[in-house]
Every structure is written in structure tokens, then in C-alpha cells.
């Protein structure tokens, strides 16, 4: 490696890695981003097993509960993050910019945002200058449906287990996320109210898994999906008509000319968020580049880019400055598009007049019911999940 080439190895999932982002970053800062693309599970494992194989990590907040104890990642210094104070209060305070509190079940980002010290392994309940992850993207997930095949309004999570959709439903086969979707169903159908869906007791886990197992045995599920394409294919091919989904996957199905709705539900969304941190092996100039990169990322261009994909970015003000008013209105404010809405690569996503599923940023993020989580009873939950699969 020649000393003057500024290279950062960026480990993350393909979802957040964009070719345009790395090109723009190189142009703006001279930092060359080398993407290391892996699946969500592999990213986490690599952090544990090969902390030396990456510099910058892009991962989800809920996995911090596992990553921080490994001591393999580096808490960033909030003072060196220029826009830190402008980061949306969703992360820092657990409320919308308008001050409305949002759901805090599960591993909500603000619970794990700060560490007690630079090398501490415990999270701080109050803000400190040691930040675990600088937020990049986040979103509120719900069920995707095929309105053309269902032909009636869907408004509750209970529909996921509705026998009407026997053999045509699907959930995500990541135990900690799948069980949350299940919990949404259980709660919606009034069978149980959880104190914290993201941190169940053993009894709650048993109950939830029992309901799921019955549904599975009854043939409710066509398949469980694990990666983006599986979810797209299931939906697009009509194998399923209702399933838990990611926003870009819905967009993808729609772009194939197939009707698909990311259906807002009355019980609210299950939300997730991811962000940047740095491997503990990074030091010296490399660490400076890492800060430089993070600062660039928050400076607006990248935020706008992410917003245009249907995600939400961390610093709203800088992102807004990089988007047209029409774009901002469509993506963030729930307004009908004035002109055609284009994807970052220029292809037309929505025609003029369309509105975004779920409405504005405030509506969506305000309706978050819980966050992706790692439970205290995680071990027990995984065992039960295996049991569920074996049933």
C-alpha cells in the first residue's frame, strides 16, 4: 500500500453499499472505498472473527449487544463528527424532530448509542462522547402485500396468520427479527400484550413460538426468506401474497410491473437502523480518513442518495439541501409527486401524482412499534426457533 493512497476497507451488506457513493466519495475526499460485501450474518461473524480484515464497519444497532463485548470495534469520538449534533433526534433522544416520542421496544438505537468510556464494554444510558455507531440509514418495515391477488384492504398484522392466506404467507428467517414479526401478530390479535417485544421472557417466547408453530404446521407459510432476492422472487412470482418485507424489495417488485404495496398497518412498524463504526485495529492516519469519510457521509450527498432509495438518512438538514423540493416532498413529507420520481440511477420509479406508502417521515417513524433487537433470552429464543423450524 502506498502511503498517499487513502483506502478504506468498508465491510457491510450490499444494501447500503452503492457504487455511486464510493465514486462520489473518491471525487470529494480522495478516499477510495473498497467494499467488502457480505450477508448480514457474515458481516457480524467477520467482526468477531476477522477484526483485521476491515477498517470501517456498517452494521445494525441491534447487533451491537454482541459486537461491543467482543472488543473488536472502536467507539468514535462524537466531537470529531461535525454534524453530530444535527443527527435526527430519533437516534439521540428517541423522538421525532417534532418532539413526539417513538416506540422504544427492542434494541432502540438510543439505548446503545453511547459507551461509558473509549474502551468500555458497557452502554451508557446518558449521552457521552463515545459513540458506538454513527447512523447511516434506517427505516420502518411492515408487511408487503400483493393487492392484486388479495383484493381487499389489509390493515392489521393479524392478516399474516390469517388462514385465508394459507400457503401464501412468509416471514424473514432471522430468528431475532422473525419473532418480532410474530409478536406483532400475537399482540394485534389480542392474545398477549408484551412488556417489550424486543426483550421477551421465556414464557412469552414459548407462547409466541407456539402460535407460530401451529401456523407452520397448518401450512400457513409458503417459505421463509433469508435474502433480498428471495423476498422479491416470492412476491413477484406470486408464491406469497403477504409477507414481511424490506422497502427496496417492494420497490423492486413494483419496478417489475407487479403490484406490490408496503402496507402501513394500524399496529405500527418494526424499525431498524444501521450505522458506521471502525475496527479497533484502525489507528493513525487511517483513523483520520475514517472520520473524514463519516463526516463526508453525513454532509448531505449520501443522505440524499439514500433518501431517494426509500431509506431515511441521519442528518435530515444536509440531505434536504441535496434534494429537489419535489423529491423531498415525495419521499419525506408524504406529498404527491409533482413530476416523475427517479431512482438514483435515473430510472423512473413513480409517475407524477404518486404518493409514498405510509406517508411522511413523521407518520412512519412516529408509528414505530418496536426495533430489531437482541433479547436477553436470546439463547433460549434461538433454541426455540430451531424447534420451530424442526416442527
Amino acid at each position: 500500500r502506498s502511503a498517499d493512497a487513502k483506502v478504506l476497507r468498508y465491510l457491510g451488506t450490499a444494501v447500503n453499499e452503492g457504487d455511486e457513493i464510493s465514486k462520489k466519495c473518491l471525487a470529494d475526499t480522495g478516499i477510495k472505498i473498497e467494499y467488502i460485501t457480505a450477508t448480514t450474518d457474515d458481516v457480524t461473524k467477520r467482526v468477531i472473527t476477522q477484526p483485521n480484515s476491515f477498517d470501517v464497519l456498517d452494521t445494525e444497532y441491534f447487533s451491537l449487544k454482541k459486537l461491543v463485548p467482543s472488543g473488536n470495534i472502536f467507539a468514535l469520538d462524537a466531537k470529531k463528527i461535525k454534524e453530530f449534533d444535527n443527527i435526527t433526534p430519533v437516534f439521540t433522544k428517541g423522538q421525532l424532530p417534532n418532539g413526539k416520542k417513538i416506540g422504544d421496544q427492542g434494541t432502540a438505537p438510543w439505548k446503545v448509542l453511547y459507551l461509558e468510556g473509549a474502551n468500555s464494554k458497557t452502554f451508557s444510558k446518558t449521552p457521552t462522547e463515545f459513540v458506538t455507531l454513527i447512523p447511516t440509514v434506517y427505516n420502518a418495515d411492515t408487511l408487503g402485500i400483493r393487492p392484486d391477488l388479495i383484493k381487499r384492504p389489509i390493515s392489521s398484522w393479524t392478516e399474516l396468520l390469517n388462514p385465508e392466506f394459507k400457503g401464501k404467507a412468509s416471514i424473514l428467517n432471522i430468528p431475532s427479527i422473525g419473532i418480532m414479526d410474530a409478536a406483532m401478530v400475537v399482540e394485534a390479535s389480542g392474545q398477549h400484550t408484551y412488556a417489550d417485544k424486543g426483550n421477551m421472557t421465556k414464557a412469552e417466547i414459548d407462547l409466541t413460538m407456539k402460535i407460530m408453530t401451529e401456523a407452520k404446521k397448518a401450512g400457513q407459510f409458503r417459505a421463509f426468506w433469508k435474502d433480498f432476492n428471495e423476498s422479491v422472487n416470492l412476491m413477484a412470482s406470486g408464491e406469497t401474497v403477504i409477507q414481511s418485507m424490506w422497502s427496496p424489495a417492494v420497490t423492486k417488485v413494483r419496478s417489475m410491473g407487479i403490484a406490490c404495496t408496503f402496507q402501513p398497518l394500524k399496529e405500527g412498524y418494526r424499525s431498524w437502523a444501521s450505522g458506521f463504526c471502525v475496527s479497533k485495529a484502525v489507528s493513525g492516519p487511517k483513523l483520520d480518513w475514517a472520520y473524514e469519510f463519516v463526516n463526508w457521509y453525513l454532509s448531505g450527498w449520501a443522505g440524499a442518495y439514500l433518501n431517494r432509495q426509500g431509506y431515511y438518512s441521519a442528518v435530515l438538514s444536509t440531505a434536504k439541501a441535496n434534494m429537489t423540493a419535489d423529491e423531498w416532498g415525495y419521499w419525506m413529507e408524504g406529498k404527491a409527486a409533482v413530476g416523475d420520481i427517479k431512482a438514483p440511477d435515473g430510472t423512473i420509479l413513480e409517475k407524477a401524482g404518486a404518493t409514498r406508502d405510509g406517508g411522511s417521515y413523521d407518520e412512519r417513524m412516529g408509528a414505530v412499534a418496536c426495533w430489531n433487537a437482541v433479547m436477553d433470552e436470546n439463547d433460549y429464543m434461538v433454541r426455540k426457533w430451531n424447534e420451530f423450524i424442526a416442527a
Binding site: 461473524k45 428467517n173 421463509f224 412470482s237 408464491e239 436470546n378 439463547d379 424447534e387 423450524i389 424442526a390
Partner: protein, 293 residues
């Protein structure tokens, strides 16, 4: 050459492979075994001796009687898939190898046909796996074809995300692992032995059973080892083709691992290793492939 020198040379010849295994398998295996006997909590492993990884695995095995506990159910399912796949790959693989070895008479054509069978494997499995859905799905080519032909009126649901599709994909992937060793055993069979058998009045079938199968046994055993070991540990194919709804020994480990519960995953791996080694040594007891060298 004296016996000792021969042994020494043999030892030298085996040493490089031994070294690779020592560095990249035995040592890691040692770590894994050690880790399997560590304690762990929800977030991290704790370097203290504990058999929790093992005991948790067998949770409920006694309590649930007469119902089967998760691990037994999972292993039964895995063994069932393994057995089905083994029988099918063996039948298909043997027939293909037989054709290549005894009916394709020139070496060149044998090589060409072998390559023809290899080419699909050069397109990454990740890609090939995706391609099953447009083929077997509810609205896939097969169902459409059958419907078009008027054979069915409702799409066949069990074509995809079922044990059928799992076994189909496994057979698809691993039959070639049978073909290669069986073929190699078969081309060593002296043609005159087959002539002698025909001459003794043996029918084609009798020759197959009495001469070719016994002489190809080492190849059959080796191919079986390949297929059985891979299927026992598989989680990718079973996962994707089973719609993530079918349990297997490999999937248990994967789920544990993805939850970063390394000790539990390691313990499960050690158990799987033990069980599979048992199956394999039973197999090599039937035919000692090393004696046939």
C-alpha cells in the same frame, strides 16, 4: 527397499497433506472443541468450562418422551434427506458412471462428456439456486408446462419449498460426486473379467451384480462418503430449497452461529462430526477401501 525405508518414504509423501490438515483443520478443530466446552451468555462466550453447549442441545430429550426432542427430530429429518439423496445419487451416479466407463469407449469422449457434466458447476451455486424458482415455482415453467399440457389444473405446490425440492436440488448438486469415484473404479476393471462372466452364462444383470458392483465397491463407498458427509452438514441447499422451513443438523449450527453463540454451535458441530464419523466407519467396515489399494 527395506520395509523401514519404504515406510519412511510413504510418510514423507503423506506429510504435506498431513501438514495442511494439521494447520488448517486439526488446530482449528482443537479450538472449536475447546470452545464447545465453554460457557456463554446472550452476548459473549465465557472461557470457563461448561457443558451447556451440549446439554442445551439435548434439552427435553428425556422430558419430552415419548415425543422426540428437537435435536432427535432434526437428526431424523437430516438422516431421511441424507438417505433419500444417497439412494438417488447412487442409482443415478452408478448408471452414469457405468455408461461412461463401459459404453463410451474412447478416452477423449469420456473426458468430453465428463467436462460436459462439470460445466454447470462453474456457474456459481448462488446463481443456480436462484434459478430453481422460475423453474419449479407455483407459476414456474414446470407448472405452466403441466398445466398447458392439461395434466394438472391446480399448480403443484410441492414442487418447490418442500422435501421434494430439497432432495431434487441435492441430487442435482451431488450426483456428480458419485460419478467421479465410481467411474474411476470402473475403468480399472479388466474387460476380460466381464467377457469371462458373460461366457459363464451370466446375464448382463448378473454380471453387474456379481462382477462390476463388487469390483466398483471402493468407488461406491468413496462416492457415498462424499454424498453422506456433505448432505449431513448441508444448510444452504436445505435452507433455500426447503423455504427455510425444513430443519437439518447443519441449519441448527448455522442458526446458533448467526446468533454468535459459538460454544453452542461448536458443540453441535462436534456432535455432528461424531455421528457422521460413526456412519462412515460403518461404511468402511463393509468395504475397507484402503485394503483395496
Amino acid at each position: 527397499m527395506t520395509q523401514e525405508r519404504k515406510t519412511f518414504v510413504a510418510w514423507l509423501q503423506a506429510a504435506p497433506m498431513m501438514l495442511v490438515f494439521a494447520l488448517f483443520f486439526l488446530l482449528p478443530l482443537l479450538f472449536v472443541t475447546i470452545v464447545s466446552a465453554w460457557d456463554y451468555n446472550e452476548y459473549e462466550m465465557i472461557p470457563a468450562f461448561s457443558l451447556r453447549g451440549y446439554s442445551d442441545t439435548f434439552e427435553g430429550c428425556i422430558a419430552d418422551l415419548p415425543n422426540l426432542c428437537t435435536i432427535l427430530k432434526t437428526y431424523l429429518k437430516t438422516l431421511k434427506l441424507c438417505l433419500l439423496t444417497w439412494v438417488l445419487t447412487l442409482l443415478i451416479g452408478f448408471t452414469v458412471a457405468y455408461f461412461l466407463a463401459f459404453h463410451v469407449r474412447s478416452k477423449t469422449w469420456q473426458i468430453v462428456l465428463t467436462l460436459l457434466c462439470t460445466i454447470p458447476f462453474w456457474t456459481s451455486n448462488v446463481i443456480r439456486m436462484i434459478a430453481w424458482i422460475p423453474l419449479l415455482g407455483r407459476n414456474g415453467l414446470v407448472n405452466r408446462g403441466l398445466e398447458g399440457a392439461g395434466l394438472i389444473h391446480q399448480p403443484l405446490e410441492w414442487l418447490l419449498f418442500s422435501e421434494f425440492s430439497v432432495v431434487l436440488a441435492l441430487v442435482h448438486l451431488f450426483t456428480f460426486f458419485m460419478v467421479v469415484p465410481i467411474f474411476n473404479s470402473m475403468i480399472r476393471i479388466d474387460r476380460r473379467l466381464i467377457e469371462a462372466a458373460y461366457d459363464a452364462g451370466a446375464t448382463g444383470w448378473q454380471t453387474l451384480v456379481n462382477i462390476i458392483i463388487p469390483l466398483a465397491k471402493p468407488g461406491i463407498v468413496i462416492g457415498s462418503i462424499f454424498v453422506i458427509t456433505i448432505v449431513m452438514g448441508d444448510f444452504v441447499t436445505i435452507g433455500v430449497m426447503g423455504g427455510q422451513q425444513i430443519a437439518s443438523a447443519g441449519k441448527i449450527i448455522e442458526a446458533r452461529l448467526n446468533a454468535l453463540q459459538f460454544p453452542a454451535a461448536a458443540a453441535n458441530a462436534v456432535i455432528l462430526l461424531g455421528i457422521t464419523i460413526l456412519i462412515i466407519s460403518a461404511l468402511t467396515r463393509v468395504v475397507d477401501i484402503r485394503k483395496e489399494l
